[in-house]
Symmetry: C2
Subunit: 346 residues, 2 copies
DNA sequence: CCCAGGATTGTTAACGTGAACATGCTGTTG
DNA sequence: CAACAGCATGTTCACGTTAACAATCCTGGG
């Protein structure tokens, strides 16, 4: 019967069930006021024909795409990847589809392009995982009326925000080192235009100040193990004073561990190292890395919760949610070697 | 001009440019036979109004969604995450949108649900990244006529396939150990229902056989560092005979390194270790890990190339592409200690 | 000057769905 | 018995776009 090859539509189901297409629509959308017997007949017809509603047609007439957009920086960093997956699952659970654009770098031009693409698709809300200062700035010229949630974005005006308590986590890590007795904690910082890097640095600085400790100029890395390796090598000459390193992420901490191992510096006997992220590898490094865990699953879920709320209520009050971070003490930290003891050169 | 608030549509652009909406359509779709002057006027009007074509309407009338679906197993494994990102970029470059469903596990039911969701969205092609045997099997009942490409799927009938030369990579790794002089190479295998795990095991086994070496029963892990750690601990009692370990991925190799370090076994002096994947951390482990690199970017690109070809040509001959793997020799491998030398117990 | 024929533009009708309104039917109540 | 409420179902139209066909305009050769 007609339409050979093409997938069945409401009219086909309606004909088979002996009703009008609008009744089929009502069954599909679970509207009330459909006689149970009719509903059964329609459902049977849908199953028999293998009917699937056409989302494009529905989106056209309802002006709702039920799609959320995500802009993510490319890169295989553990955090973003984890967050992305949990966003997908949370969105699905709430009946939303997801459209993802990954960008190499967050220049205003690239961001504009990504926005263009998502706008075309008619996304109803947007998650921006581009935690860099200038990215947040160029977010100001977003299409107005589109709900936006930033991840680690520090809350651009008018947007919701989900952020991990980076400063708190960094403070906990630093305090741990201070309490072990370290008097000079060097920070191996992330790129300066990343808001997370800045917050972690700030947490470290504040804690050192409170404890009356110096805050030596941080070494700067780019999150990669290689940059951590390089930074730690530059540190080797200063190891008589420096007894602890707080790295802004686990990969840089890993690079630092490598540099220390090559130089014969023992961790944690000669120098303590703390990371940030708790990557799956952290527990099995040499030595197992003391680090700060971020609950990326919670971050993703909060994003979607905030965004769907904004989409559906449209009351537009931009909330900010802070997810706590948790210090995990493993074996890369210990009290400093007593003064005067030969230490790593011995 | 009505429609206050609502975004402009073709009719609005047409009115402003003083043409009919179909001319606007022609300009948008770059059809020939539009007078340059008219085209300019239309483009100017589009820019002035900030016009964006409505993809839902287009999809409805053309019966083309320009969307590809991806089914991926959840997990933050390095390989899948990398592949996913490169698939997204490749799809975008070819003008396709992407819809991703991540599934916790690949049971037939979950797979069916994911398929349902993607079918509703009208995807024109499907990438399945679920390299487990029973997943491939339940792929047999896929909607016919939908082009499918599997990643590491071993080529279910009628589907395209992209796979890394796992066996070749494993053989290269094993050969490297054999050439160093190792006579007993133990394999730390991945889960038995993963096709990649099986292929790597097969590469190892074949190479040992060819070299006339024994193929001791592999130890089984689940890709996690923890499982590698446990497996290596079980190995500790046999280290007088075993001088080399080939792990099926870097994370398990990492766990093994940890277990050896704790037991005072030196790598590579007492035992050599090889991994697989070349995760970003591999180069900076202790010691830097000899491993096999997979070109995940190439995998993603091949997927999309195969799939878009199948979508657009519909000649339906399912191709298989094999991406080579490359051995990277670092510092976790060395010749075995000479027989009779005390070794790790000394 | 007239007409063929290509270039350019317009008219109309789908595409599959849901909203708004209309209709008929049943049973209840004054 | 009539009016009416309330449920079940149907009719018509609109959503924004493209396809198919129709109409118009110009250009140049006879």
């Amino acid at each position: 019967m007609g339409r050979q090859g093409r997938s069945p539509v409401m009219k086909d189901v309606a004909r088979l069930a002996g009703v009008s297409h609008i009744t089929v629509s009502r069954v599909v959308n679970q509207a009330p006021n459909v006689h149970p017997v009719t509903r059964e007949r329609v459902i049977a017809a849908m199953i028999e024909l293998g009917y699937r509603p056409n989302l494009a047609a529905r989106a056209l007439v309802t002006r709702r795409s039920h799609t959320l957009g995500v802009i993510a920086v490319k890169g295989t960093l553990f955090g973003p990847a984890s967050t992305l997956l949990s966003i997908e699952q949370a969105a699905r659970a709430r009946g939303y589809y997801l459209s993802i654009v990954s960008v190499d770098d967050v220049t205003p031009g690239v961001l504009q392009e990504a926005l263009e693409r998502l706008a075309k698709q008619g996304v109803e809300g947007l998650v921006v995982m581009a935690p860099r200062r200038h990215a947040i700035e160029s977010l100001a010229q977003m299409p107005p009326g589109l709900p936006v949630v930033t991840v680690e974005g520090g809350g651009a005006p008018g947007t919701g925000a989900v952020l991990v308590d980076q400063a708190g986590g960094a403070a906990a890590a630093t305090r741990h080192l201070v309490e072990l007795g370290h008097r000079r904690v060097v920070h191996l910082a992330g790129p300066s235009d990343w808001l997370e890097a800045e917050a972690r640095q700030e947490g470290w600085r504040a804690t050192c100040r409170e404890a009356g400790l110096p805050t030596p100029r941080p070494l700067r890395g780019d999150w990669s193990p290689r940059s951590g390796y390089r930074a730690a090598r530059r540190l080797l000459g200063r190891l008589e004073k420096v007894t602890a390193v707080f790295a802004a992420n686990d990969q840089m901490a890993l690079g630092a561990l490598r540099a220390f191992a090559e130089a014969g510096v023992r961790v944690p006997e000669d120098v303590s190292v703390v990371g940030f992220d708790d990557i799956p590898e952290a527990e099995f490094l040499h030595p197992p890395l003391t680090t700060v865990r971020q609950d990326f699953a919670a971050v993703g879920q909060c994003c979607v919760a905030l965004l769907t709320h904004a989409v559906e209520q449209a009351d537009g009050h931009a909330e900010t949610v802070v997810v706590p971070a948790q210090l995990l003490v493993r074996s890369s930290t210990a009290p400093p070697r007593p003064a005067g003891v030969p230490g790593w050169r011995g």
